[in-house]
């Protein structure tokens, strides 16, 4: 069972890569966007799912990674080097945000990160030399071609993005099973009790936030190289900042594969309902409501429930709904 849990993500990535050559251009693009959103959702789940803190600044950190990646690759850096460095830039900023935000308690954390998300969006508009301002950042170099994929850039992008998603997933799993991960769960359940046990709640929360910021930055740099253009609108609180919350809540807070499920379903949905893209914020909002009201443990929770009824002995334990902090 345990072995399987560690093998499955790699198998899933391999399977997706195996079927990728059969996809047409349009499906390839959607699949790449979905994989990218999965990276974002998994990284965000480490924060919201493991610690219970609702941050609305995740879209901003995603943007920081995107602009950092855009700057570096445009300046001639190798994509492979720019990718982790963009992650580090986002992680550094994320750590600063966390240090400020965790001084607050409860609802104020969400409000403060909302403020950071809003201010960050304005900064993207104002800091024109770095971001290109309203006009956006144009002419970002594409991802480098892998051997044999020079003729098929869309396939190339998906084949690069999927292993990055796999790596993100494994990193999140490793975090979950580390001492810091255990500390995060303890903090989520009961801050005072965690403190009484000598758990350094500050480091646990900081680690979770920085971790999630790092992978948000990576996702941003991938996005920049994928679309060759980055504009501030993508990183508004009402855009990606809100989207990730929906991905994770609909997928199942604290369930890593749940957020993959949520991100894939919700990225594909607007494409399936052609024309519904205009209403996507509305649809997302409705889904968020439905999840909170009827399935607080998300799609992942529902599936686990079904699995448990079917095979009571084999089912893993369900993570519990996250209390608002």
């Amino acid at each position: 069972m345990n072995m399987l849990r560690w093998l499955l993500p790699a198998l899933a990535v391999a399977a997706c890569i195996a079927v990728a050559p059969a996809m047409n251009e349009y499906i390839l693009y959607i699949a790449t966007m979905a994989a990218l959103m999965c990276i974002l959702a998994v990284s965000y789940n480490v924060l919201l799912g493991f610690t219970g803190y609702l941050s609305l600044a995740h879209g901003f950190l995603y943007g920081v990674g995107a602009y950092a990646g855009a700057q570096l690759t445009t300046a001639g850096w190798s994509f492979w080097l720019a990718l982790p460095v963009a992650g580090l830039v986002a992680a550094a900023l994320g750590a600063l945000v966390a240090l400020a935000a965790f001084r607050t308690k409860g609802l104020y954390f969400a409000v403060l990160t909302l403020g950071i998300g809003l201010v960050g969006f304005q900064l993207f508009l104002v800091l024109e030399p770095l971001t290109g301002g309203v006009g956006g950042f144009v002419g970002i170099p594409s991802m480098p071609s892998l051997p044999g994929l020079e003729e098929t850039p869309s396939l190339n992008a998906l084949v690069i993005t999927l292993p990055v998603l796999g790596a993100t997933f494994y990193a999140a799993m490793a975090f979950q099973h580390s001492a810091l991960g255990a500390a995060c769960l303890a903090v989520r359940e009961d801050v005072l009790l965690a403190q009484a046990l000598g758990i350094r709640i500050g480091s646990a929360r900081l680690a979770a936030f920085t971790f999630s910021a790092f992978f948000a930055g990576i996702a941003g740099a991938l996005f920049a190289a994928l679309s060759n253009f980055v504009g501030p609108d993508t990183f508004a609180v009402t855009a990606t900042g809100f989207q990730v919350v929906v991905f994770v809540v609909v997928g199942g807070m604290g369930l890593l594969w749940g957020s993959v499920l949520g991100a894939v379903a919700l990225t594909a949905l607007p494409e399936v309902l052609r024309g519904a893209a205009t209403f996507s914020v509305l649809v997302y909002g409705a889904l968020l409501l439905a999840a909170v009201l009827f399935a607080p443990q998300g799609l992942g929770g529902l599936l686990l429930d079904g699995w448990r009824r079917w095979r009571p002995a084999a089912a893993p334990r369900l993570p519990q709904p996250v209390k608002a902090k």
Binding site: A179, A182, A186, D190, A194, A196, L197, G198, I199, R317
Partner: protein
């Protein structure tokens, strides 16, 4: 081992402890008695570092620990079992125990064996959700989890709250077993039965001050306590 001098502490504008002085010598078991609002839980929380001291000092093994964080105190061996619902209900018994050893990284096998020998019930239910345990078993788990931190002084904040008389007896037995491992006890209680069963020395806390102290048998005798609980 533990020496507290003129300790003051409180919340926001409210001061609860107005200068508490008490001492626990190595290997001893001391009880702090007091009615609701006397400052018992505040005392526990100040000792474990959950709330800061506003004045006075706390010395542990001759070293000043007044300014240390809760984590640093746990590492030195001062471990609190907080009052109220004391387990992580959504985690298994084993996960709860592991968290107790968090300050030491990986839990030591010997610590786990020790806990299971004191509380065989926890061994039987290691995989179960802590929230599904009975009240008495949850208290055992809270004590066992504290033992995982390898304490030298255990702070027990009203461990019998809401427990049946049978469970209170189990807690008393557990405290004896824990003492047998060389751990000193500072118990904060309203429950006379437990205080009587496990403590040698007693302090009476009254509105944030130590009203009186002495050998437990003496303090627990009717007149001293009546004065303190029923008013003079």
């Amino acid at each position: 081992m533990l020496r507290i001098e003129s300790l003051r502490a409180g919340y926001d504008r409210l001061e609860v402890l107005h200068g508490v002085t008490l001492e626990v010598s190595g290997g001893a078991s001391v009880v702090v008695l007091g009615s609701n609002g006397a400052g018992k839980s505040t005392l526990c929380r100040t000792l474990s570092g959950l709330i800061p001291a506003r004045g006075g000092s706390i010395h542990f093994d001759g070293q000043d620990v007044t300014a240390l964080t809760p984590a640093q105190r746990v590492r030195r061996g001062i471990v609190q079992v907080p009052e109220g619902r004391q387990v992580f209900p959504e985690m298994s018994v084993m996960e709860n125990l592991r968290l107790g050893a968090w300050v030491h990284g990986e839990p030591e096998a010997s610590a786990l064996g020790e806990v299971f020998s004191i509380f065989p019930r926890l061994g039987e239910r290691a995989a179960q959700h802590a929230g599904l345990l009975s009240g008495g078993e949850q208290q055992m788990l809270a004590l066992g989890r504290a033992m995982m931190a390898r304490p030298r002084l255990l702070l027990l904040d009203e461990p019998t709250q809401g427990l049946s008389p049978v469970a209170v007896e189990q807690v008393a037995n557990a405290v004896h077993a824990i003492r047998a491992h060389g751990v000193s006890i500072l118990l904060v209680e309203q429950n006379m039965a437990l205080a009587e069963a496990v403590s040698e020395y007693a302090y009476v806390l009254e509105t944030g001050r130590c009203a009186t102290h002495g050998p437990a048998a003496e303090i627990l005798s009717a007149d001293v306590l009546a004065a303190s609980y029923l008013g003079h």
